[in-house]
């Protein structure tokens, strides 16, 4: 997955950096493969976002962050990029309205769900095909 998809509050390990001038710039700022980057917050309108890298706060636009490949730790994965299998929900990133909407599909923190296709989730309430916007705000752990 790319750094721009990591939800606010999580850390991810850098996997690769684009082979370009921008890439070199990123490396000199501390975005080095193998190091951890934490997503600290996002700006109004969601772009750019603030990252904690090498003990300092750096802002990056999503168009640039999308070029940074990262991996989440401990079998963590965002629903939008989850393969088929069984998962538990670790976190839902969104406000009250979002939580309530998810609740209706039985998507709640701690629940076990099955992914049966791209962004398609099976819960006790049924099978739901989620949009990317929603799917990218649900953090899962493989079981």
């Amino acid at each position: 997955m790319s750094l721009s998809e990591v939800p606010v509050g999580l850390s991810a390990k850098v996997k690769s950096i684009p082979d370009s001038l921008v890439g070199s710039r990123l490396i000199s700022l501390g975005f080095i493969p193998g190091t951890y980057v934490k997503v600290v917050r996002d700006a109004p309108l969601g772009d750019p976002r603030v990252y904690l890298v090498m003990d300092k706060l750096i802002t990056l636009r999503n168009d640039d962050a999308v070029q940074i490949e990262v991996v989440l730790d401990n079998d963590l994965v965002i629903l939008s990029s989850a393969q088929e299998g069984t998962y538990t929900i670790v976190e839902l990133f969104g406000g009250v309205g979002f939580q309530r909407k998810m609740h209706r599909m039985d998507l709640q923190k701690g629940k076990t769900v099955q992914i049966i296709g791209p962004m398609t989730v099976k819960t006790q309430r049924g099978v739901f095909k989620l949009g990317f916007g929603i799917a990218s705000r649900i953090l899962l752990r493989r079981v």
Partner: protein
Amino acid sequence: MALRVALCGNPNVGKTSLFNALTGMRQYVANWAGVTVEVKEGIRNWQGVKIDFVDLPGTYSLSSFSMDEKIAREYLLYKTPDILLVIVDALSMRQGLYLFLEAAELDTKTILVVNAVDEARKQGIHIDRQELAKHTGVPVVLTSAVTGEGIDDLLDTILRISSSDKKKLQFIFDEEVEKMIKALESEFISRPSLQSFPARWLAIKYLEGDPQTVALIGQTQVVAGSLREKIAEGRYKHIDLILKEVLKTSGEVMTMSDALDHVLTHKYIGIPIFLTLMYMTFTFAFQTIQPICDGIEALFTFLSDLARRSIANNTISSLIADGIISGVGSILVFVPNIFALFLILGIMEESGYLPRAAFVVDRIMYRLKLSGRSFMSFLLGFGCTVPAIMSTRGISDQRERTITVLSVPFISCSARLPVYLLIASVFFEKEKGMVVFSVYLLSVIVALMSAVLLNKILFKGEPSFLVLELPRYRMPKVKNLLLYVWYRGKHFLMKAGTIIFLASVILWILSYFPASGDPTKSFASEIGRALSVLLKPLGFDWRLSTALIFGTAAKEVIVSTLSMLFGFGKVESLGSTLTSFYDPVTVLSFLVFAMAYIPCFATLGSISSEIGKRYLIISVIYSLAVAYLLALLVRLLGGWLV
């Protein structure tokens, strides 16, 4: 021969603060990355030795991506100092040590300076100096530029290593990397054109894919940039090993920064907060401070009356009362406003809010194919256009930089404030604050639209890459703030004593003669009438035209001119005379014209030195055209509405 000592380090680690502490100078310090954009030198005598300190722009690494970083790098490469101080921030040592490992390859005597230890201590971080010296192989000094801790120690250390032998410093990478470095190194040594550079350094930079180095060397048997990630990884692994031994943290301290950021850069309220802060700034600078201005005004009225009454010779008393006192005095009245504005700008710069404002609005700037970084330069332009233009050196994209330099002059600098305030207080007494705030807002909008327009005509580029560092919040120190306000405001006072004084005298001569005191038949009126042919469609008569001509020297002079042309023999009634001459629409369009037209001489000078002479002419024509169109628009709209 003086000992030449250069300070290098990441942006915003306190290089300039240290430089000031070491040399007793007062260079520009602020809490955001990219403040210093040129090489500055200062001298200190220590124990009989003359030390020549050199402050450099901050740089994340020795591969340079923007103009200020390039300046630092070129200095280190082509004017290698006797001793290099690598300054690292005690609270983010990893990034700092990365630069240190790069600089170590430059083959110069090096001292590692860990700055801001006062802040580290407050956060419960202990730094083991001996351990750090042991692992890096160079002397280590812990300093605080704020409390003065460690400064003498640093000076002693400089003298000590200046007389000792140079030690070979080298960070050894793993075998695969070292083999490649060695291979390239031996190739470079045989090339005469590369003789003046440290070969190992060049080899590493080449393998990192640093564009300047690759351009210098061309292709070799190894692909440039092929070990980019390996090299960085190797260094950081090493740094983490060092820091494990050196840093002792006693528990997590919840920092103020997080809490503040939660509010100030909030998803929804971040932009409203920014606008509110700006509005508060302007009301503070224009309204809260007003009683002081009134006091000064009363003083000058009293002085010119006194001059008129006590000097018998009519011509001389008019020169003093109508020329000098009303010319210079009409501007000095606004000194408190200007100082207040600088006070707030100073707080923004010192606290660390400035780059956050840029962050908050970046999305909007992105639409305009600019970045939040140029917005920072725009904000600085509220103070004075010249430093705002200088600050564009931190913009890494050349296209964006040119556009920003050409658009920053539209932002209302403090020198334009007297014009707004004079007109607003005469014509729009009740809504004065609102009118001035609107003109400021308009100036931002014009600057942004200008950027969009220039993007369309001059360049068809993509928005540039944006990285901003958000520094930790710092409580502005009263002493620093006062110095900031004084150094910025002083410039304004000096202008009043020189350019404005001179312009006032010349203006007086031109408007007193040949009709001895009747401005309508004076030389000034001739000049104004000639120009007013062009400005007729805007509704400007010869008086306003004359004011605009003289305003090109410095925009404040517009105020002196008006007060002179209208005020002969009667300072206090400028307001009532003005209202009887012009309707509000004409005055508004004059205000807008004054805001946008030709930047002052100092600004033109810095445009030409920053991006080239060609742009000086472009800027003059461009700003005149914009001013004319805007004023015409106001006139047409106003005529239609009223």
